[in-house]
């Protein structure tokens, strides 16, 4: 695929002006995500009331794909329930690993479909998926996510 299709205006815009960037006072959930191959390193902060995400932010250093993915993720999950956010995370994972086509398969991905092209760039899938791993980690047992080992989108270390 033409990777310029991936570096579309919407992704470049979120990279330049990331939404929900910074710390979050009184966060109820926080997690850290690390992609050691790339050096992408982000922190995610959430405020959850009665099972709903009413505030979310991220910070850190990353490539454009990861930063735009994190930015659009925060915009997408704000106001959603934790369960809805986790469903979205799973759909995003399936899309970026080529198991879900947002053009034909039913999903809740909406504008996140701009990342579908990343499935053709195996070395960059981890960049797009890291924020979503980090989101899952925030609600899981561990509060650190990585793109390696069991979490490797390519299926193992």
């Amino acid at each position: 695929m033409d990777s310029k299709q991936l570096y579309q205006d919407v992704i470049l815009d979120h990279n330049r002006k990331p939404r929900n960037y910074g710390r979050l006072e009184n966060a109820t959930h926080s997690s850290e995500g690390l992609n050691p191959l790339c050096g992408d390193h982000i922190w995610l902060h959430l405020h959850v009331t009665d099972g709903a995400i009413d505030a979310v932010s991220f910070e850190g250093q990353s490539c454009a794909i990861c930063k735009a993915s994190a930015s659009m993720m925060t915009a997408a999950v704000k106001g959603k329930t934790v369960l809805e956010a986790q469903t979205l995370a799973e759909e995003f994972r399936q899309m970026t690993t080529g198991h879900l086509d947002p053009a034909s398969d039913p999903s809740h991905l909406g504008r996140l479909a701009v990342f579908s092209g990343v499935k053709d760039l195996p070395s960059r899938v981890k960049c797009a998926i890291l924020p979503w791993h980090t989101l899952r980690a925030a609600f899981g047992d561990k509060n650190t996510a990585t793109t390696e080992g069991d979490a490797d989108p390519a299926g193992g270390a």
């Binding site: 033409d2 570096y7 790339c38 992408d40 490539c63 454009a64």
Partner: protein, 421 residues
């Protein structure tokens, strides 16, 4: 070249060595068209491409010469053994080692360093002893020594580098004391391109009676190496960075040191006799070559080194230096380019940052233009930390690269800047 007095450095270098004269030797350079564009392969420091001469040698071996070595008395086993030992002589000539038996075949530079760590370090170093490395080592010359540190209580001392990426020589000297028992340093930095003052570093080590290993992964294919002139105790390099196959490489060691070291791996070929009571080890180099080695890979390595010697390491170094100077000048003309590694003496490695664009985005977009560069931490995370960056994009050059390919790199970087503008 015209007789004009205003000829440029570029033109002079091209007269000295014309890469077009040998590019035809490398099938991959014309076979592959990333995104329909001509391949501009600038990732030679990660792995170099293989000329037809080496590919043909591998085919000839597999079609006419293959059997196990050092074993049978039949024709093929003797043919294969001869070819394998001839390859050892090619390595000996390439490094100007005194004796053939000082050349140990390895699967690459990493194995060579691990061999010395196990064979020398684990036998002769003890709690409280110190090993000196530099801040610009890649992981394969850090991690084995950390493993030794963990096992034996040995301490790792790190010689610092300055903002240009040069070794701070006086600080290196100051690290030596009566506990210093080994030195393991790079000849050329893979991330920065720095050529270390290796001859002087060897002198300092020897003045303190300490053996020194030189990691030549980035040096061997790019500049003439003479281990006798350097007087280093060990020198190690990888075949796949020198136009040879992956899985090939060699370690040079002074015979008297190799002889007193313990074997690294146990198995066939490294023994003189085996009983359940006692095993007697073979003499060097066999002592360090247990089991059936990658025979074809080593024969390919021999062919690759012969090929490089025929072109001439001095001509290769001169051409690559001209490419580096040209690339550095052209890239410096672009706004917002930060070059990481500006040592006075450099091999043809150009690590750079494009404004605040992440190197992985740079790499993905350069690939779009057919330009292959390495992006990441280059297996040298301490170097990245030293310069405060998580990663860089790195263009690295070989003798088959051209000035037009540098132009293609610069044009592709311009496009990245426009996209992220």
């Amino acid at each position: 070249m015209s007789a004009s007095a205003v000829s440029t450095v570029t033109e002079q270098a091209e007269v000295a060595f014309d890469p077009e004269s040998i590019r035809g030797d490398f099938p991959i350079l014309s076979n592959v068209h990333p995104h329909g564009r001509p391949l501009v392969y600038l990732d030679d420091a990660a792995s170099s491409q293989m000329p037809r001469q080496v590919i043909d040698r591998l085919v000839r071996y597999q079609t006419h010469e293959h059997a196990n070595i050092h074993r049978g008395v039949h024709l093929l086993s003797e043919t294969a053994t001869l070819a394998y030992e001839n390859a050892r002589r090619s390595v000996q000539r390439f490094l100007n080692a005194r004796e053939e038996r000082e050349i140990i075949f390895t699967t690459g530079c990493t194995e060579g360093i691990n061999l010395v760590m196990h064979g020398y370090g684990r036998k002769f170093l003890a709690d409280g002893d110190e090993v000196i490395v530099t801040h610009m080592e890649h992981h394969s010359n850090i991690v084995p020594w950390q493993m030794l540190a963990e096992e034996k209580g040995v301490k790792l001392r790190v010689a610092p580098i300055d903002d240009q990426g040069e070794l701070m020589f006086e600080s290196y000297e100051a690290l030596f004391n009566e506990r210093t028992k080994f030195v393991a340093v790079t000849h050329v930095s893979n991330a920065l391109g720095t050529v270390t003052p290796i001859r002087r570093m060897v002198e300092v080590a020897h003045a303190h009676g300490v053996p020194i290993l030189v990691d030549g992964a980035q040096a061997a294919p790019h500049l003439a190496v003479d281990v006798q002139a350097l007087d280093c105790d060990f020198y190690t390099f990888s075949g796949h960075k020198a136009c040879g196959p992956t899985g090939s490489g060699a370690l040079y060691g002074k015979a008297h040191l190799l002889e007193k070291m313990q074997p690294f791996k146990g198995g066939g070929d490294m023994i003189l006799s085996v009983s359940f009571e006692k095993t007697t080890y073979n003499v060097i180099p066999a002592k360090f070559e247990a089991g059936t080695p990658p025979i074809a890979a080593m024969i390919g390595l021999g062919a690759a080194l012969d090929y490089l010697r025929e072109i001439g390491l001095d001509r290769i170094a001169a051409h690559e230096h001209a490419l580096l100077e040209y690339a550095t000048a052209r890239m410096s003309e672009l706004p917002g380019i930060r070059i990481i590694g500006t040592a006075r003496e450099k091999a043809a490695v150009l690590s750079f940052y494009v404004g605040d664009v992440h190197p992985h985005d740079v790499g993905t977009l350069l690939n779009e233009e057919g330009v292959a560069v390495r992006t990441g931490h280059h297996c040298a995370q301490p170097v990245m930390q030293r310069f405060g960056v998580p990663a860089t994009a790195r263009a690295s050059f070989a003798f088959y690269n051209t000035f037009a390919e540098v132009d293609a790199l610069v044009a592709a970087v311009r496009k990245v800047q426009q996209l992220f503008g």
